[in-house]
Amino acid sequence: MKRVSYVLSAAWQGFWRNPVMSLASTFTVGLMLLLFAFFLATDRGLQAAASVLESKVELALFLKDDAKVSDVLALRALIEADPAVSRVDYITKEQAMARLVEIASRQPDIQIVDISTNPLQASLEIKLQNAQDAPRISAALRDEIGKGVVYEVVDNPSVVDKLLTITRVLSFGGVAVLGMMLVVALFVIVNTIRIAVHARRDEIEIMQLVGATDWFVRWPFILEGMLVGALGAVAALTAVLLAAGPVTNALVGFLEIVPLSFGSAFLWQLVGSVFALAIVVGGGGAMLSVRTHLAK
């Protein structure tokens, strides 16, 4: 117990012995973790969106809010006449929302935050005999846009494809950027600890002389690295939590999407991942530094 308290207090003193350097490395680690959290959230969001869109529907015809029901029904009859179409369903605004609520309830990753307004549009969902006819039919239906009934034609399989492509690109890009940030963060931590070791070189010399074990000499520095990581994690997660609300609102206002937010399961996963990465980077960097600078 006494050993633990000695090592802990040595680590804490080490952190504040050179506050500028410690806070600079905390900031760098925090920035890296913020990026990590951002990629984690974006990736998860896109995946969730893709899975929502991956319903059975192959083509969707979104209708203008002011379209007349008679015109809609006429259009529906027209589409049903095409031999490639197997079925057309008319989904009202209310049904669309009800379905979204239902989907969300099955997905632990998403929650509907606000359902007082309904930005969803009524639609005609078209099932095809053969998915290969989708491009031809969607092209024909796009001609209807601007004629008072059809707002947009969505070729679902291609949207899902696009989303998955974006997810993949973002993942690759994210991993690359994250990798670079990781190297920078490690470099900064290695240097911070190197300076800490240098500041305490007399103490270390005496510790080794009087028979302190290697781990007793090293632990304070490794804990100091972990402390830098953990404080960086706290900073990054605080920033994420503070930014989450405004960013979501901005996205809702700007993109006119349904306000979705991540469930608490994902939040805990995010907190856990960020802290785990922080501890690994902080402790790992410190260990690396101590191994090279405490060779004897």
Partner: protein, 238 residues
């Protein structure tokens, strides 16, 4: 190649067997050194600078390894010992240096207690043992002073207290009087004699002829890495 147990000298605490040390830069610090020190001995290591005194000391606390030959300390093969066993060896060998090596931002008591805290003792144990060591060296009144508030002799006594606080079997002093005036030198020597009388084996490297000649203890004379003289009641010069 005789182990200290096998050679019949059961009381032997330090053994150097045919030890040579060549540093990477080519300097030959020790050549074929044989040295046997028994428990309770008081040994002066004498010789000019660069004769190999400091290398002997570094071998005993395994700061260096010999190029050839064997080193035993308290029955342990220092050369073959695992790295993880080195801390335990160093707890049995206290070392005092010419430049004291006290931590300037810690008080005398903290400097002494430090040696116990970093070797895993509780604060209570550290407090008790620190008091014991400080009264042994006569610094109990100065326990809360910082090193720069002490005289050179007091600083060296604090360093000796730190070296003794782990109750080592061996105390090695590398030029302990090198940085203090003659009167203070005698105080330090009297203290070391007392430590030796209490049962700690003492190995002291020194240039101080006056002290060596006055005490008539065992003298091991090193010259260019070789033991040229080893006398029971020796003088500084032959």
């Amino acid at each position: 190649m005789v182990s200290p147990r096998a050679n019949g000298r059961g009381n032997e605490l330090i053994t150097l067997d045919d030890v040579s040390k060549r540093y990477p830069n080519g300097t030959e610090a020790l050549r074929d050194v044989d040295l046997h020190i028994e428990s309770g001995d008081f040994v002066f290591l004498v010789g000019s600078s660069g004769a190999g005194k400091s290398t002997v000391i570094r071998l005993l606390i395994r700061e260096e390894l010999p190029s050839t030959g064997r080193v035993w300390v308290d029955g342990q093969d220092v050369v073959r010992m695992r790295r993880s066993a080195v801390p335990r060896l160093r707890r049995r060998v206290g070392v005092v240096f010419q430049d004291f090596k006290l931590l300037p931002r810690r008080t005398v008591a903290e400097n002494v207690g430090f040696a116990l805290l970093v070797t895993g003792h509780s604060e209570e144990e550290a407090r008790e043992e620190t008091e014991r060591a400080l009264s042994l060296v006569g610094l109990a009144q100065r326990r809360d002073h910082f090193p720069d508030q002490l005289s050179g002799g007091e600083q060296q006594r604090a360093a000796i207290a730190r070296a003794l606080v782990n109750r080592p079997k061996i105390l090695i002093a590398d030029e302990p009087t090198g940085n203090v005036d003659p009167v203070t030198s005698w105080e330090i020597i009297k203290l070391l004699i007392r430590v030796n009388e209490l049962g700690t084996t003492l190995v002291m490297a020194t240039h101080n002829a006056e002290i060596v000649n006055a005490l008539r203890r065992r003298v091991v004379h090193l010259d260019r890495g070789m033991v040229v003289r080893d006398e029971r009641e020796g003088l500084y010069a032959a």
